[in-house]
Amino acid sequence: MPQSAEKVLDHAPLFREPEYREMLARKGQSEGMPTAEETQRVADWTKSWEYREKNFERTSLTVNPAKACQPLGAVFVAAGFEKTLSFVHGSQGCVAYYRSHLSRHFKEPSSIVSSSMTEDAAVFGGLQNMIDGLANAYALYSPRMIAVSTTCMAEVIGDDLQAFITTSKQKGSVPEDFNVPYAHTPAFVGSHTTGYDNMLKGILENFWKGKEAKQGASINIIPGFDGYAVGNNRELKRILAEMGVEYTLVSDVADQFDTPSDGEFRMYDGGTTLEQTAEAINARATLSLQHYCTEKTLEYCGSFGQKTASLHYPLGVQGTDELLQTISDLSGKPIPESLEKERGRLIDAMADSQSWLHGKSYAIYGDPDFVYGMARFVLETGGEPRHCLATNGNKVWADKMRELFASSPFGANCEAYPGKDLWHMRSLLATEPTDFLIGNSYGKYLERDVNVPLIRLHFPVFDRHHHHRFPLWGYQGGLRVLTTLLDKIFDKIDIDTIEPGVTDYSYDLTR
């Protein structure tokens, strides 16, 4: 008997015990599965160039995409405002999914309500669901603002959010002057980054529409959809304080997704206040840290006479240089010596480790801005970002990536893949392997299939804890990213040299 009270075996060791191995072998005999030889033949074929070509001919099927749908971005950005409850109009199952998805990544609560539309609402529309839903959410959860977005069900039947919200207010669901910004966020258009953009624009419209801007000294900074927001936003705020810049972080989820354990469950914590959001109309400029999350929002900000600028996930040396220079330009504040010193320290670390980084090749996937920022840093280390893939990237992004590759000799063998998925990536790695893969937890299946070590630096990270608490942005974040790459590189060398008496002559103590 394999199990005992002294040493309890759970799934991983338990099912490797002889009793279970025999049982599973017996089951295998009667499952009607292909023979081991047949499976091996097909497995080998899936790693061939022939398969790769066939795979890239796909026009309709998507397998293992690296993107989610609009409402996820909408509820994420809304979570960055003070005491704001997201209300997603449509089917309720979607909301269960967004909440689970965010909780699994942040290991934090995620509180969102649904209007729970069912078949009758599909026929008659969801007005009554909105009326009742807003009243209930307002009464039970005492928000200061309810941000309404939509599931694809409500979009297909064409529910009119503006009219519904107006009617709900007339019926007394929430007070007339209560803030209920909204955005249509159809899942069949764009991805979670589009939803971020749409909802953020909706929130700003709620406060700014019909108002005149009186330009002040402050600048708005929009972080974009970012699984590492807890660490990144705090690092960003530290940098801004160092520079003495007057700013508003427009949607700051850092505290909402990092509440303390002290006996109290805080459904809301931190975030951009509603007063700050209203006042943000008077900013002299708005800076987005993720261009592809904010295209419509920036255009809207620009319509109030604000200067606008956007970056692509400010990571690494030049990414941070650009961040600081842009903030300096927009705010008129110089870059302080303290940050210059931080820059020097990052460069120092990169120089110390350059021999281990030089010439390493990487595959990178994720949201378009992240992939750009990450690839740029890889180039700075003397690495080659060979396969850069964004399922939610477009042709404009791919061109931008190619410009980046062209800017460095290390970009010579690199290519960008917009609109492709992780099954495409599998073919790329099987035929043209890289030393490392940079992505999120889903990448572990690629690591298993093609034996390329995975470095987790992107949302979502389900199978490692607390990564999001530490920044990737800024020079400090650069140090963290650098160390993460190096740890994986050194771990790989150690794994490859650990066999006693065979390879351990290279199992060096000092590297």
Binding site: M33, T46, K67, V189
Partner: protein, 496 residues
């Protein structure tokens, strides 16, 4: 107290629970209060007649009706019930999340349905196949795209035994005819293709998705392909075990030790062949009654196959279950069942000896899905723990009736509980452990209350069977007796 004290050893404070219910209802607007109050109740002693049939209490709440908008229901949708629960684990088929990208993305690899196979080659469970609907698919319809997708799957995944089409919300709204596509493509490819109308807006929860998924097995799998299978006298199907963390394996080993042959396991680690041959078995053993009773009833009507419910959580129920199953067969099997029970008794004794002193008297609140809100009750009680409250996301009346076989008088019962209610109940009761899902985990832990996810086994498991019980006991102990819970208050706050 009026309830049967025979084996209870503890009692619940029904009056206090009634007060908690009154308190949470007070927060609702009138219309919603009226609707919610019918879902909240306190278990009352069963009448004498019911008691003689093993019923302890009556858990009288309304269930399986629409959730109220805006209250933060924990429920999911029909797609989750079909793709996420019933079909998704069938390992040698490709399951297309048909519609926009999100549903498949959020449910990708999240149910821990363990299986053996070469993923992407001969098995496909932990993959996300989606038609990734774009605006043009909504406007012009997705049937042509679906045809193309089936061709692409056929060419890139040639060892897939079949395909299921898991409809997301838009499919039913835009009038796509996925049944016609399925018939056409079945003719062309010869493979099993199963259209499932599990659009998320159908029904009121996951539950209708289970039902629709069951019906799809009936309509699109049974009696379609020739079945090559030599039936035996001890053939059984395990129905409604999704092999979460290996649950079906730690159950199967017991059934095999008894001398039974498990010819189908639905649907954890299942192959299409296991589903196709199921009607040739002697008996259906159903674990998750809620999600798969439909197909058992169908097999009973159509093929004359009997089915019985069993419970493999905790030694009391396992022994009862093994005997109940054995009673259906001859003396050899009955003797074997006794041998199995005897064989594992020392393990059970050792587990209880080790963990019961650490867990005795600890109060537990549960809020889960299909069967666990009642099925795990005795497993906790075997460890000396007490169930003070329980409820289901998507139960029907027959589930609550069955819950009365398990819970004590005064137990707080909550159907389709809202986050507001659950938080207030937990705050009021301050149990020693809450067992629920990922969405509940972190709010509860922030309150300083130990928590275990009882959908995914919190990434542990299996919890079924004797081997699983040891893990269950270990996990409840490590959740409750971790030192972190003692560190919540800063020392200078304690002094104040």
């Amino acid at each position: 107290m009026t309830y049967d004290e025979e084996d209870s050893g503890y009692q619940n404070d029904g009056a206090f629970h009634q007060q908690l219910i009154a308190d949470v209802l007070a927060a609702y607007p009138d219309k919603s209060r009226k609707r919610r109050q019918r879902h909240l109740s306190v278990a009352k002693p069963a009448d004498e007649e019911a008691k003689t049939e093993g019923t302890l209490t009556e858990c009288d709440v309304k269930s399986n009706i629409k959730s109220i908008p805006g209250v933060m229901t924990v429920r999911g949708c029909a797609y989750a019930g079909s793709k996420g629960v019933v079909w998704g684990p069938v390992k040698d088929m490709v399951h297309i999340s048909h519609g926009p990208v999100g549903c498949g993305q959020y449910s990708w690899s999240q149910r821990r349905n363990y299986y053996i196979g070469k993923t992407g080659i001969d098995t496909f469970v932990t993959m996300q196949f989606t038609s990734d609907f774009q605006e043009k698919d909504i406007v012009f319809g997705g049937d042509k795209k679906l045809e193309k997708i089936i061709d692409e799957i056929d060419s890139l995944f040639p060892l897939a035994k079949g395909i299921s089409i898991q409809s997301e919300c838009p499919i039913g709204l835009i009038g796509d005819d996925i049944e016609a596509v399925s018939r056409k493509k079945h003719k062309e490819t010869g493979k099993t293709i199963v259209p499932v109308r599990c659009e998320g807006f159908r029904g009121v929860s996951q539950s209708l998705g289970h039902h629709i998924a069951n019906d799809a097995i009936r309509d699109w799998v049974f009696d379609k392909n020739e079945v090559h299978h030599e039936p035996g006298p001890y053939d059984v199907n395990v129905i409604g075990d999704y092999n979460i963390g290996g649950d079906a394996w730690s159950s199967r080993i017991l059934l095999e030790e008894m001398g039974l042959r498990v010819v189908g396991n639905w649907s954890g680690d299942a192959t299409l062949a296991e589903i196709e041959r199921a009607p040739k078995a002697k008996l259906n053993l159903i674990h998750c009654y809620r999600s798969m009773n439909y197909i058992c009833r169908h097999m009973e009507e159509k093929y004359g196959m009997p089915w019985i419910e069993y419970n493999f959580f905790g030694p009391s129920q396992i022994a009862m279950g093994l005997r109940k199953i054995a009673a259906f067969f001859d003396d050899t099997i009955k003797e074997n069942a006794e041998k199995v029970i005897a064989k594992y008794q020392p393990l059970v004794d050792a587990v209880i000896a080790k963990y019961k002193p650490r867990l005795q008297g600890k109060k537990v609140m549960l809020y889960v899905g299909g069967l666990r809100p009642r099925h795990v009750v005795n497993a906790y009680e075997d460890l000396g723990m007490e169930i003070v409250g329980t409820g289901y996301e998507f139960a029907h009346g027959d589930d609550y009736q069955r819950t009365g076989h398990y819970v004590k008088d005064g137990t707080l019962i909550y159907d389709d509980v809202t986050s507001y209610e659950l938080e207030k109940f937990i705050e009021g009761i301050r149990p020693d452990l809450v067992g629920s899902g990922i969405k509940e985990k972190y709010p509860v832990q922030k309150m300083g209350i130990p928590f275990r996810q009882m959908h995914s086994w919190d990434y542990s498991g299996p919890y079924h069977g004797y081997d699983g019980f040891a893990i269950f006991a270990r996990d409840m102990d490590l959740a409750i007796n971790n030192p972190v819970w003692g560190l919540f208050k800063a020392p200078w706050k304690k002094a104040a």
